[in-house]
Subunit: 455 residues, 2 copies
């Protein structure tokens, strides 16, 4: 195959040239005819050659214009905006160190459980691997999510869950249902950078409120509500991204009071649920699902490749969201994904994996905090769980400059301002401790910090 | 597990009740202790019970409120609107006959190739099954799509393809980029029903133009363009849904002239590409990718569960669409899906599967046309390929009434008006010939037709 592809690419074989017969080529390469048949079939599948019944194989037009199999992506703007981390982390070359990314390295993921789950799905009904799923998504996974939420004392009936392709897609669906261009949405400052890009995609206006160690600054929150008449408050529950902080029950209670008086809604994204040692009190816990819409997913601790997220909300909103998802996606999320995820969740092994993961993260979090401390980089708080440390840089160091200096050295960092709608976090950086296990990020940080301090 | 679940559900075990010890239960059931450990682990994973270190397993609060494992969905409105077919077909009970649905039955799909592809992915790098994919999607699948398009004489550079979760998601992305509320969009009448629901989700206004055997009625198209100043024309290329018709080169040429003078864009959804015996001339073939955006997917002939679609457009639009997809989805489509699909496409077996599929559909199409003809139901045209027959009902028979009569008898039909933005196709019905292999739909049709004719 390589030989023929090379001859076509190099111009030795032109469009409409006839290829050697199967027998000829097999003899000249000393391989079996079936090997040549297989190679020709694959080249035909690629579109480089084509069979003409009765007269053999010929090079196609596509063969001539076919480009090399590996090509470089066009260079992307290095501008540090809320897309920065996503772009750099998603499209990084293999081997790049990514303390800036939001997920665990592949060797931290429960691959054995995941692959066993996929094999289980492969042994089940063919329709799971070939068909569209039911419009609300796999019944088994919905029942699992319901039980989970009931464990957190969130009462819900059996028509209050919709599965979506991911937490991001779930949030996008909710925004489509609730937001109109120009609507105001309160977000934490700092907050998950993609909240900003998503709101921008909906032409909604993010209203930042400073986030403290216990949740949003309540008086700033109330002032923003009175000033901007927002439609929504969009936040994380459980563990906050990027700070790792947890909302206190008192702040949660006060906040819901304000939200209720202003007739607003809350969307809480509980994406880090499985990183918590114990579930925290959340807004949905206090409110039920009356003003609060709960979003979650399994992408962070099972798979970001076989993804599924969920929305828990009142039944009427779920009905509207289901129709909306059919319109923009046709059907629920991949049954291969949802059944695999359910298989992992329902296995006894998943709890054990999480226990192990929590211990491993605790160890890495402490070690990373210690080593960063030696460089003058100080965690703002020690989170109860999760992969993030939100750190203050040494006096006068711009985390944006630091991230730009680290990138050419193969280290993707997450500078504070990508998380800050008010651009007031240039002195902060989010580190993912699961990516700090080797010396490289520290070496690059140390060198860049020296340069920046002397500059 | 069933026994304990039953005792909890039935109220014999209350929250905080202690479960029998592992040794006790193993002895009383005559099973090994490891079987009991496994069962307790699974019940704990479901959240019904919980281990307290040193003191055994206890029933949780969730146990009490846990609902039965199987529940009925709330009944859905039987209103015949563009959602009708999607709702009925996606959420049908197993065993329902679905000549109204848009896809092939599971046993028509290339399951052996698909599962071999999945197993290949399982053997590759762990990151494929755990990580987010690159923002434009799998490089291998993008290269494959490029080669395909070049075979159809569509010249394109290496930055003109974006992979998305499905053709529907691809189309949604394009609409988000191009449409503003109130924008006019020309659609065929009849057209794929989800085009209407999707445009509604974007608050765009569908402008229907009558579709003929050779494409849209050109003078009606021109009049609509002058009257409505539309932003887009949204259509299928290759095989038209629901009619199975093919655009003629003359109509394509005239249509592009009108589009160009009006400075409009065209989105052509080539979802049925792999059902064509030979690729037809399409709008993208004549235009290149200047005014035409090409969308496609592999859901119909590889898998609707491991889905991926693509967008081919000019490089600047692809750049904007990539950022948009990161904002609303984070990352490209599932790598498990795209690599599995690529593995199937690159195998020699896929071409052979398609050849077999085409012959099988040809046979079923002829047989279905003959048997429908005996009931007075006449195909409007015989398509070159694909699963659909667009048929005229006997004089005076409403296809809506027919579909409503067939549903309680376990047959989902696709009445003409779900495809018709002007609601002018009540005398037509779309049949999927791959679902007409057994006697049931014909029996139900025959009975319902008799009743309706006498009513």
């Amino acid at each position: 195959m390589g030989d023929i592809r090379g001859r076509i690419g190099g111009g030795k074989l032109a469009p409409n040239d006839r290829l050697p017969s199967i027998r000829q080529l097999a003899a000249s390469l000393s391989v079996s005819p079936s090997t040549v048949v297989e190679a020709y079939d694959r080249l035909a599948a690629e579109g480089l050659i084509r069979a003409r019944p009765g007269s053999g194989f010929f090079v196609t037009e596509a063969g001539r214009t076919s480009a090399p199999l590996v090509r470089l992506e066009p260079p992307r703007a290095a501008e540090v905006d809320p897309f920065w981390v996503a772009r750099q982390a998603l499209d990084a070359d293999p081997g790049t160190s990514k303390p800036g990314c939001g997920w665990l390295p592949p060797d931290w993921m429960p691959t054995a459980l995941l692959h066993a789950g996929m094999r289980t799905v492969l042994r089940q009904a063919t329709s799971l691997t070939t068909d569209y799923g039911p419009s609300r998504g796999s019944a088994a996974l919905r029942r699992f999510v319901e039980t989970r939420l009931r464990q957190q004392s969130i009462a819900l009936a059996d028509d209050q869950i919709l599965l979506a392709g991911s937490a991001t897609q779930a949030l996008d669906l909710v925004c489509r249902l609730l937001l109109r261009p120009g609507d105001r949405v309160i977000v934490d400052d700092p907050c998950y950078f993609n909240f900003q890009t998503l709101l921008r995609a909906h032409q909604a206006i993010a209203v930042p409120v400073a986030y403290t160690q216990n949740g949003p600054d309540i008086s700033a929150f109330e002032a923003a509500v009175l000033r901007e008449a927002p439609r929504l408050y969009l936040t994380n529950s459980g563990l906050h991204n990027p700070t790792g902080a947890t909302l206190s029950p008192q702040v949660a209670h006060q906040l819901l009071g304000i939200v209720s008086r202003a007739d607003m809604l809350v969307v809480e994204d509980d994406i880090f649920a499985d990183f918590e040692p114990e579930p925290a009190i959340t807004l949905a816990t206090l409110d039920g699902l009356s003003r609060v819409i709960r979003i979650g997913s399994f992408s962070k601790t099972i798979s970001a490749s076989l993804r599924a997220g969920f929305i828990a909300a009142d039944a009427e909103r779920i009905r509207l969201l289901t129709d909306l998802q059919v319109a923009i996606q046709f059907g629920g999320p991949s049954q291969v994904a949802t059944e695999t995820i359910h298989s992992v969740l329902a296995s006894g092994g998943y709890r054990k994996y999480l226990d192990h993961l929590h211990r491993r993260l605790d160890t890495e979090r402490r070690a990373t905090a210690r080593r960063l401390g030696e460089l003058g980089v100080e965690p703002v708080l020690m989170p109860r769980g999760g992969p993030y440390l939100w750190c203050r840089m040494p006096q006068g160091v711009s985390s944006t400059a630091l991230a730009q200096a680290a990138l050419p050295q193969g280290v993707v960092l997450a500078p504070g301002n990508v998380f800050s709608p008010s651009l007031s976090s240039d002195n902060f950086m989010r580190f993912n401790v699961a990516h700090m296990g080797d010396a490289r990020p520290f070496r690059v940080l140390e060198r860049a910090l020296k340069t920046l301090a002397h500059g």
